[in-house]
Structures are given as structure tokens and as C-alpha cells.
């Protein structure tokens, strides 16, 4: 998508990066990167390990300030907003978070309400309702009284997702949310995100490892390699064998997903023939 196109310039997306050079200390991960997140999309960022997906997500969520260029949220440079104001518009599930010792599930999820709270207003009816809704959506209501330390990896991840959901932000960024989940919970979580996207119109941006998950659930894919965007667009439009080869270096064929009709990546690999 070209932002310099006058027809599109009028409808600037809520969140985009423009000419951003991002990295850590002296190490540049991406230089002069321009990426837009289409409003109300379920955008998935894919790419091989260390291609700069998570770094891009960190920049989009102002955890990492670009060295040059800018990240814009709602027409304003994101770093110019007060921290709490950003947190009311944009939620982020980081790759690693720490549950304080001895915290219960409901208590942790309630921490997601922080950006909506004030010194005197620390537990409004809205806070309570948001926590209940988030727990129901992630199916952790039954666990609410349990200690987070005692949960399984999958349960814990759902609790963290519930915490960002409780934040009730129109934009939701998730860094590899499915990593520690078994396949059933991965699909459940992806379904949940798709649901939030369709029903609530929440814009969702997720970094995912599984290209087939991306194809099935994303409305918009951003494929990255070496810190640069190689292709972006709807899965049907951009996911081809050439692209997968280019982005992941994986020889494959693409067939139609028999259920959803979306592209399905089949690695060629070196399969011994059965006959």
C-alpha cells in the first residue's frame, strides 16, 4: 500500500510507521521501514527468526523508539502521547512478562485496567465488567481464584491474554501469543482474536510463527525478511510458493485450505515415498 497515493492519504490508518530505523544500541534491525496497519484488520507479521518482526511490534507499541523516522498513532507521533493515553488506545502482550509471586488470576487480569484508573477511581463498575468479560472470552473464569504460578503454560498464556483484553483497547498487539500453547489452545486463541476483530472491530496485530495460521486467520499479512517488508496484503493475494521461498527459504507448494479456502503451505521437504 502506498501512502503517497493521494486517494489513500485522506484515510490515514490509525497506526503506521514511516521511514523508521529501529534497532538496539548500535545494531540496526530495520532501516527506513514504512508499514501501515490497516484499520480493523487482523494483521499478522510473519518471517523467519530474527527477521525483525518482534522489533517492529515493539516499535509500533512505543516500547522501542525509532532512531529516525516516526511511528504515528491517531495522527500523532506515538512518543508524544502520555504513556497512559497510549495504553488506553493500544494494548500489547509482550513476549515475556512476569507474574508477581503469589498473585491470583483475577488479580493479575485486573492489573490490565491500570490505564483506565485514577488515584481515587481504582475499581469502577467498568473495571469490574471489563475483567469479567475478558475472563469469559479467554475461558479463565473458573481459574480466577487460582495462583498464576500453579497454572499450566497454556492456562497462564490465556491469563496474560485476558489481561490485555481487560485493557479494552481498540488496537491490540500480540507478540507470539501462541508460542507456549498446544495446538488446541493455539486455534482457540486465534479464533478468539478473529472473533474480537470481526465482532468488536478491534484492530489486531500479531507476530506468529506458523504461516498456515497466518493464512487462515489474518486479513492482512506483513511478510518480513532482514528487517524489511517483502510483501503485504491479503493472504490470498500475496502468499505464493515464491514468496515463501523468498521469506523463509522453504521450498513448498501452496494448495487451498479445504476448510477455509485460504492458502495452505505444504513444505516439499524430502519425504521418502511410501511405495
Amino acid at each position: 500500500m502506498n501512502r503517497h497515493d493521494p486517494a489513500l492519504a485522506a484515510a490515514e490508518p490509525r497506526l503506521f510507521a514511516e521511514g523508521a530505523t529501529i534497532g538496539y544500541d548500535n545494531r540496526v534491525i530495520s532501516s527506513d521501514l514504512s508499514v501501515s496497519i490497516p484499520d480493523r484488520s487482523f494483521t499478522v507479521i510473519v518471517g523467519a527468526n530474527a527477521c525483525g518482526k518482534s522489533t517492529l511490534l515493539r516499535a509500533l507499541s512505543r516500547l522501542l523508539k525509532p532512531k529516525t523516522g516516526r511511528v504515528v498513532l491517531d495522527g500523532q507521533e506515538i512518543s508524544n502521547f502520555p504513556a497512559k493515553e497510549v495504553a488506553r488506545r493500544l494494548g500489547l502482550l509482550p513476549q515475556t512478562s512476569i507474574a508477581p509471586d503469589g498473585i491470583t488470576v483475577a488479580d493479575l487480569i485486573a492489573r490490565g485496567r491500570y490505564p483506565h484508573q485514577k488515584l481515587l477511581k481504582q475499581w469502577s463498575k467498568e473495571d469490574e465488567a471489563a475483567v469479567i468479560t475478558a475472563m469469559e472470552a479467554t475461558k479463565v473464569t473458573e481459574l480466577s481464584h487460582r495462583l498464576v504460578d500453579e497454572l499450566s503454560g497454556g492456562q497462564r498464556q490465556r491469563v496474560w491474554v485476558a489481561m490485555v483484553l481487560a485493557q479494552e483497547t481498540p488496537l491490540l498487539l500480540l507478540d507470539e501469543p501462541t508460542t507456549f500453547l498446544d495446538i488446541t489452545h493455539q486455534i482457540e486463541l486465534l479464533e478468539l482474536m478473529g472473533d474480537l476483530n470481526r465482532r468488536n472491530g478491534q484492530t489486531i496485530v500479531a507476530v506468529l510463527h506458523d504461516l498456515n495460521h497466518a493464512c487462515r486467520y489474518a486479513t492482512h499479512i506483513i511478510a518480513m525478511r532482514d528487517g524489511q517488508v517483502i510483501a503485504e496484503g491479503a493472504p490470498r493475494d500475496i502468499v505464493t510458493a515464491e514468496l515463501v521461498e523468498k521469506v523463509f527459504g522453504l521450498p513448498c507448494i501452496i494448495i487451498d485450505d479445504p476448510i477455509a479456502g485460504t492458502p495452505l503451505v505444504i513444505p516439499r521437504g524430502s519425504v521418502p515415498r511410501a511405495d
Binding site: L92, S97, D101, G102, T104, P115, K121
Partner: protein, 356 residues
């Protein structure tokens, strides 16, 4: 006003009450267990303080103590209770609370029960500052207090920068702090060895941490400073709790992580330094109070208010022991806290070692 039991079915796993006042203008989630524990600790601390005031070579019955505190006693009782004994005992309470909060701040920031200001070198640094003033400059009480403040602050900065490596990580801070503390202790010993005998004795007594002989003139300044610092600390309690989620999560939730941490560090150092400047280094209260309180409340992370209540109780009780254990000889309270704290410290080390 509306008070609900378990708010609309959210089971927090502990008794929580939603309190909403003036429509929706003020709302809070009240943790009943924490409130109860704080209240009980505070009551016991005050009772211990009253007993301390009533006992001594000149016994004052408790009812007379209370009457004197409300300004309804005269003559000798008023003098003994209000002028002689109250300042010191009140100091034990407020300095103990300050140590508790200071300890809670550092333990929360380092995410480690060992991350307490006395372990990571601030006490040793304050002592160095005080020794420079006592031995080299022959300064009086306020000069010594100033020296201790400066020494503590410089040490804090030193530990912070030595531990700095793209942000400050808890465990690194503790290790660096223990190292700096050991170095400063050797410098302190060297300064004591070079000093004249009487000067060295006075310096050593300061270094033990003592409330002996502290009067109204000491209570005033300490109270004023802490009356500012403690509310500032409590205002930072919520960002502190959010920081325990990790920097990324805290920042994603609208916390300015670097700024909040710096503010907490400054307040924590200032609280500890104020105590040290007033009474000398009093070890182990900051280390033990937050963790002991946490065991009682069962609350997540490290909380300031329970730590304050526990700190006040610990120091008040230690001061009672210091005054009465070998009466008429009065021990420095720091000796008592270090002796009792040592036991706790060994237990803590063993537990941490087993955890690894």
C-alpha cells in the same frame, strides 16, 4: 455508599470488597486480609511502644502514660513520659515504618528478597560518610547526619552506575551492592583504626545504630522529612506493583518505566538515608519487614503499607529489648536488630539456595 461482597462473581481467591463512594467518584478494591493484618500490626506496635514508655527505672503505670500522652499529666510523669521517653519510642515507630517501606521498594525493584538497602551497601556508605565527618572533620550531630546522607547517596549512585548495563537488573544490583558494601566496610574499619581512641569509640557507637538519648530535637526533623517522603512513596505504590510485571508489560500498561523506577529509587534511598542520618545504620529491619508482612497478608508482590506496619513493630520491639534486656545497660538498637535479623538472614539464604 455501596459495599459489595465478592464483586459480581469475580473470585479473587481472597476476600476482596469493592467499595464505591459518592456514586462512582471514588472506587477501591479493598483487600480485607491486608487491611486486617496492617491494623493488627499497627495496634501491636503501639502497644509495644506504650509498654516501652511505661517501663524503665522509673515505672509509669500504663493509664498514666496514656493520660500523659493526651497532655493530662503534670510534673514528673509528664517529663518522663513526654519529654524523655516519647521521642525515642515515636522515633522507633516512624523510623521502623520508613525502613519497612524502603526495604519494600528495593525488594520490589530488584524482585529479590535480598534486595534491601542494608544489604546492597547504603548502610555501609552512610557509615563511611558519617566516619569522615566524625573522624576527619570532628562534626556534631547534624554534620554527622549530613555526612551519612551524602555517603548513602553517593553509594547508591555508585552501585547504580556500576550495576548499569542497558538498564538495571535486580540480581546484578544486589551482587554489585554486596561487593561495594564489603569494600566500604573495609574502608570504615581502616578509618576507625586510624582514629584516636575516644573518637573511634564514639564513631563505633554511631555505627551500631542507636536510639539511645534521642530527644524531641531529633524527632522533629525526622518526622518532617518522613511526613513528605512516606506519602510520596505510597503514591508510587501502584506503579511499583505494575513494574513487577516486567518492564515491557508495565510500559504497555501506561507506566513510564524508567521514570517510575528512578523516582522509586530516589525515594527509597532518601527514606533509608533519613533513618541512618537520624539514628545510625539500623540493619535488617528493611530486609525482614516486607517479607514477614507478605507472609502474613499473602498478598502478591511486595506491598508498602504492610511493610511499614511490620517495620514499625519490629523496630519498636527491638528498641524495647535494647532498653530492657540488660537494664540498666542500654544496648544500641542496631545490635538487637542485627542479632535477630541475622537469624532471619540465615533462614532466607537457605531458602533462596534451596529454590535455585
Amino acid at each position: 455508599m455501596s459495599v459489595q461482597d465478592q464483586p459480581q462473581g469475580i473470585n479473587f481467591g481472597r476476600p476482596i470488597r469493592a467499595v464505591r463512594l459518592f456514586g462512582e467518584a471514588v472506587s477501591h478494591r479493598v483487600d480485607l486480609k491486608t487491611v486486617t493484618v496492617c491494623a493488627i500490626l499497627a495496634v501491636i506496635a503501639v502497644v509495644v511502644a506504650l509498654i516501652t514508655i511505661s517501663s524503665g527505672e522509673y515505672q509509669v503505670p500504663l493509664p498514666d502514660v496514656v493520660r500523659a500522652l493526651f497532655g493530662q499529666a503534670e510534673g514528673r510523669i509528664h517529663m518522663v513520659v513526654v519529654e524523655w521517653r516519647l521521642p525515642r519510642t515515636a522515633l522507633a515507630l516512624i523510623l521502623g515504618a520508613a525502613l519497612g517501606i524502603g526495604g519494600a521498594i528495593f525488594q520490589s525493584l530488584t524482585r529479590n528478597p535480598l534486595g534491601s538497602p542494608d544489604i546492597i551497601g547504603f548502610d555501609a556508605g552512610a557509615y563511611s560518610g558519617a566516619l569522615v565527618v566524625i573522624i576527619l572533620l570532628q562534626g556534631g550531630y547534624y554534620a554527622i547526619a549530613g555526612g551519612a546522607l551524602v555517603g548513602g547517596l553517593i553509594t547508591a549512585l555508585m552501585v547504580y552506575f556500576l550495576a548499569y548495563n542497558r538498564g538495571v537488573q535486580g540480581f546484578r544490583l544486589i551482587i554489585v551492592g554486596i561487593g561495594v558494601s564489603a569494600m566500604l566496610n573495609s574502608v570504615n574499619t581502616w578509618m576507625l583504626l586510624r582514629a584516636k581512641l575516644e573518637v573511634a569509640m564514639a564513631a563505633a557507637i554511631w555505627g551500631a545504630g542507636s536510639l539511645n538519648g534521642l530527644g524531641l530535637d531529633r524527632l522533629g526533623p525526622a518526622t518532617l522529612v518522613l511526613a513528605v517522603l512516606i506519602p510520596m512513596a505510597l503514591l508510587m505504590a501502584r506503579p511499583m506493583a505494575q513494574l513487577e510485571l516486567g518492564d515491557d508489560a508495565a510500559r504497555a500498561l501506561g507506566i513510564n518505566a524508567e521514570r517510575s523506577r528512578l523516582a522509586l529509587l530516589v525515594i527509597g534511598v532518601a527514606l533509608t538515608a533519613t533513618v541512618t542520618a537520624t539514628a545510625g545504620p539500623i540493619g535488617f529491619v528493611a530486609l525482614a519487614a516486607p517479607q514477614l508482612a507478605r507472609r502474613l497478608t499473602g498478598s502478591p508482590g511486595v506491598a508498602m503499607l504492610p511493610a511499614a506496619a511490620m517495620g514499625a513493630l519490629l523496630l519498636a520491639a527491638a528498641d524495647y529489648i535494647a532498653q530492657r534486656a540488660f537494664a540498666p545497660t542500654q544496648l544500641p538498637v542496631g545490635i538487637v536488630t542485627v542479632s535477630l535479623g541475622g537469624v532471619y538472614f540465615v533462614w532466607l539464604l537457605l531458602r533462596e539456595a534451596r529454590r535455585q
